[in-house]
Symmetry: none
Subunit: 402 residues, 2 copies
């Protein structure tokens, strides 16, 4: 059976020129994909009547979702473009004009005459109520077209409350199931080499998504029964690199383990400068296990706040496995945390030497019975080195308690 | 004169299905727009040889920039699609194969056989060195096509180091000049009210860009002489809210002032959990003035590491102006920093009370002669509150030394 296909058109010069990052298209695509629709393409078009009209007229997919260009100002031209595409014109819609008036009254804002253009509807389209803004959603059955305002909150709400139900009632769909294997500490190509001989049924799509925290292997398909055994086969090959599944992050997995095992964590961060702490603290509920961190960027603070003996720094240098270990032990002693981790390194662009080039990072993690100390070499610019050091450190924390 | 036009194609099922938000397209569009190129359209295509080949073949713009699908795995098909589009095939490129080998050797990582596919180049294309990853950039002169890897860091670096110079040497362009007035601490509509009566010449575009750190006023046009006086007029109206110009961030401005005035800074962070420190440390050279931070997430650490008297927390609570001030004084004493700042608050979603709802944040900043202590109410989800608290705090630091 041929899958139901869709195209997504986002309209606006600000999107085209890169001033605004298009988040609507991704949200719409996710929702449609999950519902079982195959996205054939996405395109961003300028606020130009002729261009929009031409693309709409030539559209070949079963479903077309359009966002943007429904505002009240002169550069919002989607309504006119739709009228042009279907050789018709715009008619005022009384219900929507009244709703716009009520909207301004409710928020005690002055209503400009220009707002009435938002109640104009091209013939052949229905105007559906938008509870989050003044522009109604426009809908046409044949060809199937939904037009949403570009404001992200309005687009998202209409997408779930109106577009999806309409799509589901007009088309016969089988939703797609996603399963994910989240890995860290293994590169994309090495991972691929480990599993490339596993046969993937044609009904399942296998994707490798490299994120800065690690590679995610995603299995997508319409048949759950076929996905699960394949996922288990892949999992068995990657075991030591897997930290979680869809929805997990390294940070959330760490929090879950620490809370379950009733452990506490403290950090001493040098080159990552608080990045690891801020990632952990971004997860709600982190106060249940995370005590805090000392960002000891200067040597004086490494000695004074993280309790590193001065002679360790003098003998081995601030970036050394010995200093990392001393930071960890110092912070564990000072905070009483069950698990302590520290990072010290050279994030660059300055500060590198021949023996310790930019990207040299030492990480130490100490818990009751385990101790990991490692010197690693990272690459990239300053922020890439900091991010990679942070995720490597998070993985050390996970490994030390799992 | 007809402007030079461009289309941007981003390739990847993960972009099409909305799993990944496309940030490359916006970056590329900004760069080209600034250089004077008119973006005609953007499109996202699936990892499907036939579709990519067809779109490339039918492309009508002067310039085509493609990103994505150059990885080493089976679902990376851009190379094959280009070969198909131009009725040719792929040939191994010795230089790039050697570079890939060297890349893995340098980082002491095992190289997979599959990585060699990244050295395959369609006939008619040149392979340009990519210093940030293994896939070379592909370039063709007629039609003008640049193909970049999808990894954002690689795409951005190649865009500025290779694509722009190539575009500028092949086309005659009049670049657009941008001037920016970066503000913080004033809302978009209040800012608009202050300057709305200023006449803007038709040759200049004025844009209000709300960022989480504040509103940026951008003036764009091809005529520098007209822009400068307008910028000066606007600057005079917004003086106390302005922290910098295009290229500046609050963090970089703070660093510049601290280094010039030979000052040092230390922090004590509770609800921001290291976020402020990590922002400061993201700027190269921050070790010249930034000593460190204590992320005292628990009360025990506020007392032990930040030197807050126990009775202050007992009497006023952990989230109070008194505790914020005590944290600041404690951290300044312990580190010897010239300027100290602290933040304590409730980022939510839990932990709010009627008297101290989620979003209550207390910030204190003490330097030799100045002292700012404030309790503010922030809105949004956990990460929005943490980000807003961080930027408000950074602005306090700036104001205390400026």
């Amino acid at each position: 059976m041929k899958p139901v296909s869709a195209c997504i058109l986002t309209i606006g010069n600000e999107l085209l020129f890169g001033e605004t990052i298009d988040t609507n298209a991704a949200f719409i695509a996710q929702q449609l994909t999950a519902a079982g629709v195959k996205i054939a393409r996405k395109a961003t078009l300028p606020d130009t009547i002729a261009t929009i009209a031409q693309v709409v007229k030539n559209q070949e997919e079963d479903i077309c979702i359009i966002t943007g260009g429904l505002g009240p100002t002169d550069d919002d031209l989607t309504r006119q473009a739709l009228a042009r595409a279907f050789n018709t014109r715009l008619f005022p819609n009384q219900r929507q004009a009244k709703r716009i008036e009520a909207f301004f009254k409710r928020f005690k804002r002055p209503m400009a005459q220009s707002n009435y253009v938002q109640a104009l509807v091209p013939q052949g389209f229905a105007a559906l109520d938008n509870d989050f803004g003044t522009a109604p959603m426009l809908f046409r059955k044949k060809p199937f077209i939904c037009v949403l305002p570009g404001v992200p909150r309005e687009a998202r709400n209409l997408m779930t409350s109106a577009v999806l139900p309409l799509v589901q009632s007009h088309f016969r769909l089988t939703p797609i199931v996603h399963k994910e294997i989240k890995t860290t500490g293994i590169g994309e190509s090495s991972l691929f080499d480990r599993i490339k001989d596993i046969a993937v049924p044609a009904s399942i799509t296998l994707a490798y998504l490299p994120e800065i925290s690690g590679v995610v292997v995603r299995l997508s398909g319409r048949n759950t029964k076929a996905i699960v055994p394949l996922r288990n086969k892949i999992r068995a090959r990657l075991r030591e690199y897997i930290y979680g599944r869809r929805g997990d992050t390294l940070e959330s997995v760490i929090q879950r383990i620490f809370i379950r095992k009733k452990l506490t964590l403290a950090l001493a961060e040098s080159c990552t400068g608080g990045l690891i702490a801020s990632k952990l603290v971004a997860v709600p509920g982190s106060s249940r296990y995370f005590l805090g961190s000392v960002v000891c960027y200067s040597n004086a603070l490494k000695i004074k706040m993280a309790g590193v003996p001065k002679r360790v720094i003098q003998r081995y240098g601030a970036v050394s496995e010995e200093t990392a270990l001393a930071m960890t032990q110092g912070i564990r002693r000072k905070t009483g945390a069950g698990v302590a981790l520290s990072v010290t390194g050279i994030a660059g662009p300055g500060g590198g030497t021949k023996k310790k080039p930019v990207g040299t990072v030492c990480i130490a993690c100490v818990s009751g019975h385990k101790r990991i100390v490692e010197k690693i070499q990272l690459f990239g610019g300053r922020s890439a080195i900091q991010e990679r050091a942070a995720y490597t450190a998070l993985n050390f924390i996970r490994k030390s308690v799992q």
